[in-house]
């Protein structure tokens, strides 16, 4: 096996193997489990770094295994794959740290971390899938691996949430499968390619291809929480906070959005998709989702639910960016994939901190939280401002590119959608900030579990991750023009997609 | 119980099926393959002189091997659900019937051996012989001479399995030299007789067991 093949498999193995070992570990072996978790996360990060360096140097990393005659499992690391893989690897490290702190002393941690690792393995697989078949394999694996996490608490509410989650995702998976098999029947086993590979089929298949596109987008749209397929996401917020982080930022929702990008850019090809009139409807759906999600978020008193609707809205920025024909929109969508992840994970970390430390679950209970937990609230504020698109945050960068992209594509209505959304974002985030910073704290918190000790407002394992991601939120904007920023990488990808015609 | 309409429908369907079947059979042309001729042509190499026995133990001996297995299986099933741990003592029988059994059973043994011998040249063979042996045991049991079965002991098990085992060993030994049950023509007659002798004993025991393991003296006369 060549080194390059080994390397790419090692990325998958770096979370799979620790996960499998953790499964069979006894509950009491905390230290070994923690070591394994962190070792896996760090190793993965290093490996991703190696790949990043390699890919930008033009190396090709791939692994191919034939499952059935004419059906290959292909894993490869291209620029787009690494964009997502890097995001996941980085965020996974923080989420793991956070989860170790969050779950301290709770039962069934072996199972939890086992599935947790499996989840990230699946996400890596999705990122590096080299064809639709492989994509689907990992996509469904992700569904399966997240279910036990969603229902981890074993309460009836969690069960209900899990059932809704399954119903949506498995249903979506079925549609996706149909579409993929259909394409496989038409073209045989073909790998993802820049500019897509379906245009070779010619115009005779136009109708079929439009229908297949519908199937595929509906399939990935469930995970991407496109309206009206978003129903599971608010339900799934019953899961523990690290899981929410995973769902909203690291893995699930991202996998859906990433799927949209793969399908548009590397299956159909953005130009062929445009010629089939597929992009405008997609943009319309994204627009509806953006507005509808923001609007619903306004009325949620449950903090995590408000964040969940916010995710519904924000993820469709990515889809919208993809649907905007033209390299600028593409960059906007791609970069938002990363930025949204960083920001949203911060928010969920913070929400988890409030809940875990003070027992605060509702927006109305947040009064004065900023004084009791200033660092957490600071991180929350940065991320929330980023979501609104405030300057000097990652959100501002992606919004700017998206707006430009809309203008470039001649879809000015999309710009209005973005503005509307920003206003709505402000409308549901600012009250939270105001309550947290400006209102007096209540005499007694609903359930204060972690007493304040000096300057450390809660467990440091809970505090460190949101602060780190909050800093990244700013860094992504401040250093946007550097060679290693997400933006730079997104531009690289867009350049390849549009064969060099890059602004 | 069953609605009349349903019953009528079933019967109507059955009648039309039977009718179709009969007409289809009447309509058949003569078959293209004529096996009796092939049997006839190979009789000399079969080791026996009776065509049915030749088919049963030589040409299609493999069927017979498996079929003895089926019989043994049925007995296992009966033993598994039917036999009690300890058989009840034989009921005190009635002398007149007992006398008949005592006279008839040895005759049945003789007839069984005769049928076994006859199989080589004329109708007869291990099945029929075994059935007669089994019937003798049933008769002895019914007249209170032979007790019913509990879980069979080692000797009985050995007897039950002997015929099948002999058959199997012959099959295996012949396979080691070529093909399953491919008798060398010179030894075919002797091997078949060996197999049939074993089968007669075992089949007799098995068939008897099917009755003796099930039979319960609760149903006996007061």
């Amino acid at each position: 096996m060549a080194l390059n093949e080994a390397l790419i498999l090692a990325i998958l193995a770096s979370s799979l193997v620790p996960g499998l070992i953790i499964f069979v570990l006894a509950e009491s072996r905390i230290r070994l489990r923690t070591t394994l978790n962190l070792f896996g996360a760090v190793a993965k990060l290093i490996l991703v770094g190696v790949l990043l360096a390699g890919v930008s140097a033009g190396e090709i990393y791939g692994f191919r295994h034939t499952v059935l005659p004419g059906l290959d499992l292909v894993v490869k690391a291209d620029a787009l794959a690494l964009l997502f893989a890097t995001l996941s690897a980085v965020l996974w490290l923080f989420t793991t740290l956070y989860a170790i702190g969050y779950l301290e002393g709770s039962p069934h941690r072996s199972r939890f971390f086992g599935f947790f690792s499996l989840c990230v393995t699946a996400t890596m697989g999705i990122a590096m899938a080299g064809n639709l078949f492989t994509f689907f394999v990992f996509y469904e694996l992700l569904t399966l691996a997240t279910y036990p996490l969603v229902v981890h608490r074993g309460t009836p509410q969690a069960m209900r949430g899990g059932t809704v989650y399954l119903a949506y995702t498995l249903g979506g998976g079925a549609l996706l499968l149909t579409g993929i098999v259909w394409l496989h029947g038409l073209t045989g086993s073909v790998d993802f390619a820049h500019g897509g590979y379906l245009s070779a089929l010619g115009p005779d298949y136009g109708g079929q291809l439009q229908f297949v596109f519908l199937l595929l987008i509906a399939g990935v749209g469930v995970k991407a929480a496109l309206v009206p397929l978003h129903g599971w996401l608010p339900q799934a917020m019953v899961a523990p906070a690290p899981v929410s982080a995973l769902l909203h930022a690291v893995a699930v929702v991202k996998a859906g959005a990433f799927g949209v990008e793969r399908i548009v850019y590397e299956v159909y090809g953005v130009e062929f998709a445009q010629s089939l009139d597929l992009l405008t409807p997609l943009a319309a759906v994204a627009a509806v989702t953006i507005v509808w999600g923001s609007f619903r978020a306004l009325f949620q008193n449950d903090l995590k639910k408000r964040l969940a609707y916010s995710t519904v809205s924000q993820v469709s920025y990515i889809v919208l960016g993809t649907a905007l024909f033209g390299p600028v929109g593409t960059v906007g969508g791609l970069v938002h994939l990363v930025h949204q992840g960083i920001m949203k994970i911060t928010l969920f970390f913070c929400a988890g901190n409030y809940a875990e430390t003070l027992g605060v679950h509702k927006v109305s209970e947040l009064d004065g939280a900023g004084r009791r937990m200033p660092l957490t609230t600071l991180a929350f504020s940065i991320a929330a401002l980023g979501m609104m698109g405030a300057p000097l945050t990652a959100g501002a960068v992606s919004k700017a590119w998206l707006l430009d992209g809309a203008a470039e594509a001649g879809m000015h209505w999309a710009g209005w959608v973005l503005w509307t959304s920003s206003v709505l974002n402000a409308a549901y985030f600012l009250p939270i900030l105001w309550r947290a910073w400006a209102r007096p704290a209540p005499a007694v918190w609903p359930e204060e579990r972690v007493p304040a000790r000096g300057r450390i407002e809660t467990l440091w394992l809970l505090l460190l991750p949101p602060l780190a991601t909050a800093i990244m939120t700013i860094a992504a904007a401040v250093f946007a023009d550097s060679a290693w920023s997400p933006l730079a990488w997104a531009r690289l990808i867009a350049a390849r997609e549009y064969s060099g015609a890059m602004p | 119980m069953i609605p009349l309409l349903k019953r009528a429908a079933v019967i109507l369907a059955a009648a039309s099926f039977a009718g179709a079947l009969v007409f289809a059979m009447l309509d058949l042309p003569a078959p293209g393959v004529h096996l009796p001729a092939a049997v006839e042509a190979n009789m000399a190499a079969s080791g026996v002189a009776h065509p049915v026995t030749a088919v049963l133990l030589n040409f299609r001996g493999y069927d017979t091997l498996l079929e003895v297995g089926v019989l043994l299986l049925a007995l296992l099933g009966v033993l598994a659900v039917g036999a009690r741990a300890t058989p009840p003592a034989p009921a005190p029988g009635e002398p007149v019937k007992r006398m008949f059994a005592r006279l008839a059973a040895p005759l049945m043994v003789l007839v069984a051996v005769y049928l076994l011998w006859a199989g080589a040249i004329q109708p007869g063979g291990a099945f029929q012989a075994g059935a007669v042996l089994g019937a003798a045991a049933v008769l002895l049991h019914l007249t209170g001479i032979l007790p019913g079965w509990g879980a069979p002991g080692l000797r009985l098990r050995a007897g039950l399995a002997a015929g099948f085992l002999i058959f199997l060993v012959v099959a295996g030994a012949l396979l080691a030299q070529g093909a399953v049950l491919a008798y060398p023509p010179a030894q075919a007659g002797r091997l078949i007789l060996l197999i049939e002798a074993g089968l007669t004993v075992s089949l007799g025991l098995i068939l008897a067991g099917l009755f003796l393991a099930l039979s319960r003296d609760s149903g006996d006369e007061a």
Partner: protein, 85 residues
């Protein structure tokens, strides 16, 4: 109509009739006895088909074993019902 044809037809008719009665009668006892009768007729049919081997097996098994098995079972199945009555 030759004698042999008459014999065969009569035998076939008797076979069918006895089978029909075996199946149609609601009483297990009667059914068992009719089935024994059916078996004996079947023996004759095998004889008529020039299949003495089968006739022999049918006679030995039908008369010796199946009959006893069935009647024993009828007795056992009725014993319980009667004592329950």
């Amino acid at each position: 109509m030759s004698t042999s044809l008459a014999f065969d037809l009569l035998l076939a008719a008797a076979l069918l009739w006895s089978a029909w009665r075996t199946l149609a009668t609601p009483d297990i006892f009667r059914a068992a006895i009719l089935f024994i009768v059916f078996g004996l007729l079947l023996t004759l049919a095998w004889a008529r088909l020039a299949a003495p081997d089968i006739a022999l097996a049918e006679a030995a098994i039908g008369a010796g074993l199946t009959g006893a098995l069935l009647l024993d079972a009828v007795g056992a199945l009725r014993a319980r019902r009667d004592s329950a009555l």
